[in-house]
Protein backbone atom coordinates (compact mmCIF):
# COMPACT_ATOMS: atom_id res chain seq x y z
CA UNK A 1 0.00 0.00 0.00
CA UNK A 2 1.17 3.53 -0.75
CA UNK A 3 1.55 6.16 1.92
CA UNK A 4 -1.48 8.04 0.60
CA UNK A 5 -3.63 4.94 0.80
CA UNK A 6 -2.50 4.26 4.38
CA UNK A 7 -3.14 7.86 5.40
CA UNK A 8 -6.62 7.87 3.86
CA UNK A 9 -7.57 4.66 5.60
CA UNK A 10 -6.23 6.00 8.89
CA UNK A 11 -8.26 9.16 8.35
CA UNK A 12 -11.38 7.11 7.64
CA UNK A 13 -10.82 5.07 10.76
CA UNK A 14 -10.38 8.18 12.90
CA UNK A 15 -13.57 9.61 11.40
CA UNK A 16 -15.52 6.44 12.09
CA UNK A 17 -16.12 5.89 8.40
CA UNK A 18 -14.32 2.57 8.14
CA UNK A 19 -16.43 -0.56 8.38
CA UNK A 20 -15.29 -3.18 10.93
CA UNK A 21 -13.93 -5.58 8.35
CA UNK A 22 -11.77 -2.94 6.65
CA UNK A 23 -10.58 -1.70 10.01
CA UNK A 24 -9.45 -5.15 11.01
CA UNK A 25 -7.54 -5.60 7.76
CA UNK A 26 -5.86 -2.25 8.18
CA UNK A 27 -4.80 -3.05 11.70
CA UNK A 28 -3.39 -6.34 10.53
CA UNK A 29 -1.38 -4.60 7.82
CA UNK A 30 -0.06 -1.93 10.16
CA UNK A 31 1.05 -4.53 12.66
CA UNK A 32 3.46 -5.96 10.11
CA UNK A 33 4.62 -2.62 8.66
CA UNK A 34 6.16 -0.13 11.13
CA UNK A 35 6.65 2.59 8.56
CA UNK A 36 3.01 2.43 7.54
CA UNK A 37 2.14 2.52 11.22
CA UNK A 38 4.01 5.84 11.59
CA UNK A 39 2.11 7.28 8.61
CA UNK A 40 -1.18 6.21 10.08
CA UNK A 41 -0.32 7.63 13.49
CA UNK A 42 0.60 11.01 12.00
CA UNK A 43 -2.69 11.21 10.18
CA UNK A 44 -4.59 10.20 13.31
CA UNK A 45 -2.75 12.90 15.26
CA UNK A 46 -3.66 15.53 12.69
CA UNK A 47 -7.28 14.41 12.90
CA UNK A 48 -7.25 14.75 16.67
CA UNK A 49 -5.60 18.18 16.60
CA UNK A 50 -8.08 19.47 14.07
CA UNK A 51 -10.97 18.14 16.10
CA UNK A 52 -9.65 19.82 19.23
CA UNK A 53 -9.16 23.14 17.45
CA UNK A 54 -12.71 23.12 16.12
CA UNK A 55 -14.11 22.12 19.50
CA UNK A 56 -12.24 24.97 21.18
CA UNK A 57 -13.69 27.40 18.67
CA UNK A 58 -17.27 26.38 19.26
CA UNK A 59 -17.22 25.39 22.92
CA UNK A 60 -18.54 28.77 24.08
CA UNK A 61 -21.66 28.58 21.96
CA UNK A 62 -24.81 29.19 23.95
CA UNK A 63 -27.07 26.58 22.43
CA UNK A 64 -29.72 26.98 25.11
CA UNK A 65 -31.04 30.04 23.38
CA UNK A 66 -32.50 28.83 20.14
CA UNK A 67 -34.34 32.00 19.31
CA UNK A 68 -32.43 35.22 19.40
CA UNK A 69 -33.37 38.79 18.57
CA UNK A 70 -32.80 39.51 14.96
CA UNK A 71 -29.76 41.72 14.74
CA UNK A 72 -29.07 40.69 11.22
CA UNK A 73 -27.15 43.36 9.40
CA UNK A 74 -28.37 41.92 6.15
CA UNK A 75 -31.91 41.75 7.46
CA UNK A 76 -31.95 45.21 8.99
CA UNK A 77 -30.31 46.60 5.93
CA UNK A 78 -32.87 44.90 3.77
CA UNK A 79 -35.68 46.21 5.99
CA UNK A 80 -34.32 49.71 6.08
CA UNK A 81 -33.71 49.78 2.39
CA UNK A 82 -37.16 48.38 1.65
CA UNK A 83 -38.78 51.25 3.59
CA UNK A 84 -36.55 53.80 1.91
CA UNK A 85 -37.07 52.11 -1.40
CA UNK A 86 -40.81 52.25 -1.00
CA UNK A 87 -40.68 55.91 0.00
CA UNK A 88 -38.50 56.67 -2.99
CA UNK A 89 -40.88 54.87 -5.31
CA UNK A 90 -43.87 56.76 -3.92
CA UNK A 91 -42.09 60.09 -4.20
CA UNK A 92 -40.99 59.30 -7.73
CA UNK A 93 -44.53 58.35 -8.68
CA UNK A 94 -45.87 61.61 -7.24
CA UNK A 95 -43.31 63.63 -9.16
CA UNK A 96 -44.07 61.77 -12.34
CA UNK A 97 -47.77 62.35 -11.82
CA UNK A 98 -47.26 66.02 -11.24
CA UNK A 99 -45.12 66.26 -14.34
CA UNK A 100 -47.71 64.48 -16.43
CA UNK A 101 -50.42 66.71 -15.06
CA UNK A 102 -48.57 69.83 -15.96
CA UNK A 103 -47.66 68.50 -19.35
CA UNK A 104 -51.19 67.42 -20.23
CA UNK A 105 -52.78 70.79 -19.44
CA UNK A 106 -53.55 72.98 -22.41
CA UNK A 107 -51.16 75.84 -22.68
CA UNK A 108 -52.41 78.91 -20.97
CA UNK A 109 -52.78 81.92 -23.08
CA UNK A 110 -51.02 84.46 -21.02
CA UNK A 111 -51.29 87.26 -23.43
CA UNK A 112 -54.49 88.56 -24.81
CA UNK A 113 -54.97 87.80 -28.43
CA UNK A 114 -54.37 90.77 -30.51
CA UNK A 115 -57.36 91.94 -32.24
CA UNK A 116 -57.44 94.16 -35.24
CA UNK A 117 -60.08 96.73 -35.33
CA UNK A 118 -61.87 96.15 -38.54
CA UNK A 119 -62.47 99.84 -39.04
CA UNK A 120 -58.96 101.10 -38.35
CA UNK A 121 -56.56 98.55 -39.78
CA UNK A 122 -54.34 99.81 -42.56
CA UNK A 123 -55.79 97.26 -44.92
CA UNK A 124 -59.24 98.42 -44.06
CA UNK A 125 -58.28 102.01 -44.52
CA UNK A 126 -56.70 101.38 -47.87
CA UNK A 127 -59.63 99.39 -48.88
CA UNK A 128 -61.95 102.06 -47.67
CA UNK A 129 -60.04 104.41 -49.89
CA UNK A 130 -60.30 102.12 -52.87
CA UNK A 131 -63.84 101.13 -52.46
CA UNK A 132 -66.46 103.51 -53.55
CA UNK A 133 -68.76 104.60 -50.92
CA UNK A 134 -71.52 102.74 -52.53
CA UNK A 135 -69.81 99.43 -51.75
CA UNK A 136 -70.80 98.60 -48.33
CA UNK A 137 -72.85 96.40 -46.22
CA UNK A 138 -72.35 92.75 -46.67
CA UNK A 139 -69.69 92.81 -49.37
CA UNK A 140 -67.63 95.51 -47.72
CA UNK A 141 -67.42 93.55 -44.51
CA UNK A 142 -66.48 90.37 -46.34
CA UNK A 143 -63.78 92.12 -48.28
CA UNK A 144 -62.31 93.59 -45.15
CA UNK A 145 -62.34 90.23 -43.44
CA UNK A 146 -60.44 88.54 -46.23
CA UNK A 147 -57.71 91.15 -46.04
CA UNK A 148 -57.23 91.12 -42.31
CA UNK A 149 -55.08 88.63 -40.44
CA UNK A 150 -56.77 86.40 -37.98
CA UNK A 151 -57.76 86.72 -35.21
CA UNK A 152 -59.73 89.76 -35.94
CA UNK A 153 -62.51 91.41 -34.24
CA UNK A 154 -65.08 93.74 -35.56
CA UNK A 155 -67.02 96.12 -33.56
CA UNK A 156 -70.06 94.83 -31.92
CA UNK A 157 -69.52 91.43 -33.31
CA UNK A 158 -69.16 88.57 -30.94
CA UNK A 159 -67.24 85.45 -31.76
CA UNK A 160 -69.49 83.40 -34.00
CA UNK A 161 -70.93 80.35 -32.41
CA UNK A 162 -70.36 76.94 -33.74
CA UNK A 163 -72.99 75.00 -35.60
CA UNK A 164 -75.44 75.62 -38.41
CA UNK A 165 -76.81 78.93 -37.21
CA UNK A 166 -73.42 80.06 -36.07
CA UNK A 167 -72.18 80.10 -39.63
CA UNK A 168 -74.94 82.34 -40.92
CA UNK A 169 -75.38 84.67 -38.02
CA UNK A 170 -72.28 86.74 -38.77
CA UNK A 171 -73.72 87.55 -42.14
CA UNK A 172 -76.76 88.93 -40.43
CA UNK A 173 -74.75 91.02 -37.98
CA UNK A 174 -72.46 92.47 -40.61
CA UNK A 175 -75.25 94.65 -41.73
CA UNK A 176 -74.58 96.77 -38.71
CA UNK A 177 -71.13 97.76 -39.94
CA UNK A 178 -72.53 100.70 -41.78
Amino acid sequence: MTREQVERLAMDRAAGELNPDAEALLEQYLATNPEARSWADEMAAAHTQTQAAIAARVEDLDTSVLVRPVHSTAGSDAGRWSILGRAAVVLFAVLIGMGIGRWSQPPKITSKPTYLDADNTPAQKSLSVGLPGSVGGFWRGRALASLQTRPYRTKEVTRPKEGFWGRYKPSLKENSYE
Binding site: E4, E7, R8, M11, D12, A15, E17, E42, M43, A45, A46, H47, Q49, T50, Q51, A52, A53, I54, A55, A56, R57, V58, L61, T63, L66, R68, V70, H71, S72, T73, A74, G75
Partner: protein, 167 residues
Protein backbone atom coordinates in the same frame (compact mmCIF):
# COMPACT_ATOMS: atom_id res chain seq x y z
CA UNK B 1 -48.03 26.85 8.12
CA UNK B 2 -49.76 23.61 9.05
CA UNK B 3 -49.56 22.43 12.60
CA UNK B 4 -47.87 19.15 11.82
CA UNK B 5 -45.28 20.86 9.63
CA UNK B 6 -44.61 23.37 12.35
CA UNK B 7 -44.01 20.63 14.88
CA UNK B 8 -41.69 18.80 12.50
CA UNK B 9 -39.76 21.94 11.72
CA UNK B 10 -39.35 22.88 15.35
CA UNK B 11 -38.08 19.42 16.19
CA UNK B 12 -35.69 19.53 13.28
CA UNK B 13 -34.46 22.95 14.30
CA UNK B 14 -33.76 21.88 17.84
CA UNK B 15 -31.87 18.84 16.62
CA UNK B 16 -29.64 20.76 14.23
CA UNK B 17 -29.20 24.13 15.96
CA UNK B 18 -25.96 23.27 17.70
CA UNK B 19 -24.31 21.83 14.60
CA UNK B 20 -25.48 24.63 12.37
CA UNK B 21 -24.32 27.28 14.79
CA UNK B 22 -20.95 25.55 15.13
CA UNK B 23 -20.57 25.45 11.37
CA UNK B 24 -21.43 29.13 10.97
CA UNK B 25 -19.22 30.05 13.89
CA UNK B 26 -16.28 28.42 12.14
CA UNK B 27 -17.18 30.00 8.80
CA UNK B 28 -17.60 33.57 10.09
CA UNK B 29 -15.18 35.64 12.08
CA UNK B 30 -17.81 37.38 14.17
CA UNK B 31 -20.28 35.47 16.35
CA UNK B 32 -22.98 38.03 15.56
CA UNK B 33 -22.70 37.29 11.86
CA UNK B 34 -22.85 33.58 12.59
CA UNK B 35 -26.06 33.96 14.59
CA UNK B 36 -27.64 36.07 11.88
CA UNK B 37 -26.72 33.52 9.27
CA UNK B 38 -28.19 30.72 11.36
CA UNK B 39 -31.51 32.53 11.55
CA UNK B 40 -31.39 33.31 7.86
CA UNK B 41 -30.66 29.68 7.13
CA UNK B 42 -33.65 28.44 9.13
CA UNK B 43 -35.89 30.98 7.45
CA UNK B 44 -34.81 29.68 4.08
CA UNK B 45 -35.29 26.11 5.22
CA UNK B 46 -38.76 26.94 6.49
CA UNK B 47 -39.77 28.46 3.17
CA UNK B 48 -38.39 25.50 1.26
CA UNK B 49 -39.61 22.89 3.76
CA UNK B 50 -42.03 21.31 1.34
CA UNK B 51 -39.51 21.20 -1.48
CA UNK B 52 -37.32 18.55 0.10
CA UNK B 53 -37.98 15.47 -1.96
CA UNK B 54 -36.75 13.00 0.66
CA UNK B 55 -33.68 11.90 -1.25
CA UNK B 56 -30.69 11.90 1.02
CA UNK B 57 -30.37 13.42 4.44
CA UNK B 58 -32.48 16.40 5.46
CA UNK B 59 -29.57 17.50 7.59
CA UNK B 60 -27.36 17.60 4.51
CA UNK B 61 -30.12 19.53 2.75
CA UNK B 62 -30.05 22.06 5.59
CA UNK B 63 -26.32 22.51 5.33
CA UNK B 64 -26.55 22.98 1.58
CA UNK B 65 -28.92 25.85 2.36
CA UNK B 66 -26.44 27.06 4.97
CA UNK B 67 -23.61 27.12 2.46
CA UNK B 68 -25.70 29.08 0.00
CA UNK B 69 -26.64 31.55 2.72
CA UNK B 70 -23.01 31.95 3.66
CA UNK B 71 -21.94 32.50 0.04
CA UNK B 72 -24.70 35.10 -0.45
CA UNK B 73 -23.57 36.83 2.73
CA UNK B 74 -19.97 36.89 1.50
CA UNK B 75 -21.02 38.34 -1.85
CA UNK B 76 -23.03 41.04 -0.16
CA UNK B 77 -20.13 41.93 2.07
CA UNK B 78 -17.88 42.12 -0.94
CA UNK B 79 -20.28 44.48 -2.70
CA UNK B 80 -20.57 46.76 0.28
CA UNK B 81 -16.88 46.48 0.95
CA UNK B 82 -17.51 46.18 4.64
CA UNK B 83 -15.36 43.17 5.10
CA UNK B 84 -12.56 41.29 3.48
CA UNK B 85 -13.25 37.89 2.03
CA UNK B 86 -11.77 35.05 3.98
CA UNK B 87 -10.35 33.77 0.72
CA UNK B 88 -8.12 36.81 0.49
CA UNK B 89 -6.96 36.73 4.07
CA UNK B 90 -3.35 35.80 4.58
CA UNK B 91 -3.19 34.74 8.21
CA UNK B 92 0.32 35.42 9.41
CA UNK B 93 0.31 32.51 11.78
CA UNK B 94 0.00 30.08 8.93
CA UNK B 95 2.48 31.67 6.60
CA UNK B 96 5.16 33.56 8.43
CA UNK B 97 5.26 31.96 11.84
CA UNK B 98 5.72 28.39 12.89
CA UNK B 99 2.78 27.64 15.10
CA UNK B 100 2.72 25.02 17.79
CA UNK B 101 0.07 22.37 17.71
CA UNK B 102 -2.12 23.93 20.32
CA UNK B 103 -5.74 24.58 19.42
CA UNK B 104 -5.42 28.27 18.61
CA UNK B 105 -2.54 27.81 16.23
CA UNK B 106 -4.12 24.80 14.57
CA UNK B 107 -7.19 26.96 14.02
CA UNK B 108 -5.03 29.54 12.31
CA UNK B 109 -3.63 26.81 10.09
CA UNK B 110 -7.18 25.80 9.20
CA UNK B 111 -8.02 29.41 8.37
CA UNK B 112 -5.08 29.46 5.97
CA UNK B 113 -6.30 26.45 4.03
CA UNK B 114 -7.89 26.82 0.58
CA UNK B 115 -11.62 27.57 0.83
CA UNK B 116 -12.79 24.18 -0.39
CA UNK B 117 -10.61 22.34 2.13
CA UNK B 118 -11.62 24.67 4.96
CA UNK B 119 -15.27 24.19 4.14
CA UNK B 120 -14.86 20.41 4.15
CA UNK B 121 -13.10 20.62 7.52
CA UNK B 122 -15.95 22.72 8.92
CA UNK B 123 -18.59 20.33 7.65
CA UNK B 124 -16.77 17.32 9.03
CA UNK B 125 -15.64 18.58 12.42
CA UNK B 126 -18.00 21.46 13.25
CA UNK B 127 -21.20 20.22 11.65
CA UNK B 128 -20.21 16.58 12.30
CA UNK B 129 -21.54 15.38 9.01
CA UNK B 130 -20.65 12.01 7.58
CA UNK B 131 -18.79 11.63 4.31
CA UNK B 132 -22.03 10.87 2.50
CA UNK B 133 -23.75 13.93 4.00
CA UNK B 134 -20.83 16.17 3.11
CA UNK B 135 -20.91 14.80 -0.44
CA UNK B 136 -24.64 15.52 -0.63
CA UNK B 137 -24.18 19.01 0.79
CA UNK B 138 -21.42 19.91 -1.62
CA UNK B 139 -22.82 18.00 -4.56
CA UNK B 140 -19.59 16.06 -4.95
CA UNK B 141 -18.59 12.39 -5.03
CA UNK B 142 -17.53 10.86 -1.75
CA UNK B 143 -14.06 10.26 -3.20
CA UNK B 144 -13.60 13.99 -3.74
CA UNK B 145 -14.70 14.67 -0.18
CA UNK B 146 -12.12 12.17 1.11
CA UNK B 147 -9.42 13.73 -1.06
CA UNK B 148 -10.11 17.24 0.21
CA UNK B 149 -10.19 16.09 3.79
CA UNK B 150 -6.98 14.17 3.36
CA UNK B 151 -5.17 17.14 1.84
CA UNK B 152 -6.42 19.41 4.61
CA UNK B 153 -5.29 17.11 7.40
CA UNK B 154 -1.99 16.56 5.68
CA UNK B 155 -1.42 20.33 5.55
CA UNK B 156 -2.27 20.59 9.24
CA UNK B 157 0.14 17.81 10.05
CA UNK B 158 2.96 19.25 7.92
CA UNK B 159 2.66 22.75 9.39
CA UNK B 160 2.49 21.56 12.96
CA UNK B 161 5.39 19.18 12.35
CA UNK B 162 7.42 22.08 10.93
CA UNK B 163 7.18 23.76 14.29
CA UNK B 164 8.15 20.65 16.11
CA UNK B 165 11.21 20.21 13.90
CA UNK B 166 12.25 23.81 14.51
CA UNK B 167 11.79 23.40 18.19
Amino acid sequence: MKGQTKIEFEAFRRATAKKLRAYMRCACNRPEDADDLVQDCYLRALRAWGQFNGSGSRQAWLFAIARNAYVDWLRQKKRTGSTVSIENVDPPAARHEHPTHDAENVWKIIEGLPPEQRDTINLRFAAQLSYAEIAQTLGLPIGTVRSRLHRALKAVRQQTRGREDDA
